[in-house]
Symmetry: C2
Subunit: 285 residues, 2 copies
């Protein structure tokens, strides 16, 4: 969409989400055994881009809702995303000691507390999402089901297991996309579906926005792969797949007219990111 200021939109969504997360996370200090509250804040309030909330707000607006309506979905998604990183970084998993230039949670707080901090974040995510039933009515229980399904064994957790099973040796784009769809795409799918649901959309529209989020999430991850030297063999195929997925996203957003300006801008941004990376890479050759 010509004239849509995506840069400003991203900052706006990020600021709204950060404020809501700050409110939703407990302060640390006295009465914080094991420093769990402090650890929850450390894990979540980390300068992230908040792309999942951006998708949630954008689909909510496409369906006629406001950014405020989308916030329970935004906060719950970021807490789930943050818990998954805390657990993935553990010695028994990826054993990472640094994230965004800071010590990972188990390095800063200890391994036992890191397990509990992740558990507490996952639990708090559902509490935050389901609170406010007076304002939203029965859709909140549906939102919980959506988030749980996409975050669980058939979504993100299952994707993590699939990734562990394959290790570093994925050489087929189809297999890579299966991992992306579950490990990354699932939470974007949840964002799309929850954004629509919290705007009061019909089930058919919720499902369309779920698909938009899923395809966007996979495209986003493929675009990252284009930048990743480990996946150099799959680069041309990944680039072609980004183009396809972006076209499918745009077709899904089409019926929503001008209200879907942010959705079109986000899809265009991922496509441009992938092509710019590929061009830069060619220039380096």
């Amino acid at each position: 969409m010509a004239g849509f200021d995506l840069e400003h939109y991203l900052v706006h969504c990020r600021d709204l989400t950060n404020k809501a997360l700050d409110d939703a996370l407990y302060p640390g200090g006295d009465g914080d055994p094991g420093r769990l509250r402090e650890g929850m804040r450390y894990a979540v309030l980390n300068g992230g881009k908040r792309m999942r909330p951006v998708v949630t707000i954008a689909t909510c607006e496409a369906c006629g809702g406001t950014p405020q309506q989308a916030l329970p979905g935004c906060c719950s998604l970021e807490m789930v995303h943050a818990y998954s990183l805390v657990h993935d970084d553990l010695p028994a998993m990826d054993d990472d000691s640094e994230r965004r230039g800071k010590p990972t949670v188990h390095v800063a707080f200890g391994e036992g507390p890191a397990i509990l901090i992740g558990d507490a974040l996952l639990t708090r995510a559902f509490e935050v999402l389901a609170t406010g039933e007076a304002a939203y009515g029965p859709v909140l229980a549906q939102a919980v089901v959506i988030l749980a399904r996409e975050a669980g064994i058939d979504g993100m957790v299952g994707g993590q297991a699939l990734d562990m099973q394959h290790g570093q040796g994925i050489t087929e784009l189809g297999v890579l996309e299966q991992v992306h769809a579950r490990k990354t795409g699932a939470l974007y799918a949840a964002g799309g579906a929850m954004g629509a649901l919290l705007a009061g959309a019909e089930p058919k529209t919720v499902e369309a926005m779920r698909t938009w989020g899923l395809k966007f999430g996979i495209a986003f991850q493929h675009a990252d792969d284009v930048l990743d030297d480990d996946q150099v063999a799959l680069r041309p195929q990944a680039l072609a797949r980004v183009d396809e997925l972006v076209a499918e996203c745009n077709a899904l957003a089409e019926p929503f007219g001008d209200k879907a300006a942010a959705l079109h801008a986000l899809a265009g941004w991922v496509q441009k990111r992938a092509h710019t990376a590929a061009a830069g890479d060619l220039a380096q050759d």
Copy 2:
């Protein structure tokens, strides 16, 4: 309550819960990367007593509901309880290699998978609880909030952190009870509140049943302590406290008349258990 067949009631509640859990957990086999589905079943379908579901069904019946109505609460509680044991048994936490005579989940499935199996169970708990909104209406979102609150930082996870902080050296009954209230009592409180909520009870009644569950859970844990040689110094105080808590439980159940027969029987059973243990112990001296 004279004439109430508690033994039969416990078996009936356990069978109902086991059947519902078996239906709610995914079969393993093909398409089970990392054996997560198999591990979820291994962790949950373990021959447990299902005391939390018993409390949930008993409060549901006290409020005029049926055992069937309580089942989403029963399944979600057992999944949360099971996930907490899987994570507590990890090397970074209590480092236990055996539970109920079988290898713990991380021993049987690996440490990374055990973290994910716990995460998947916690996530599935909320999905199971929030599914079926058509039959229950908006109370399901409230049930999610209750479970998340009792299972999270101000409940079970916080109790675990408190326990880690104190280690083995608790010498005051008041401190011990704080740990029991959060680490054990919180899930019983959730069972009491959810049982009432799923029966369609008023907020005041839900709160009363929450308190019943909390007091019952603490009494249950104190009764266990009476049997535990590590807590021998606190034994007489713990026994006196069981009597107080049971009296408070019975007072809370009183207004529900005959519908609270199971609640009275359960409280009486815990009291008898504690006193029998204490008498056995005296006999050994």
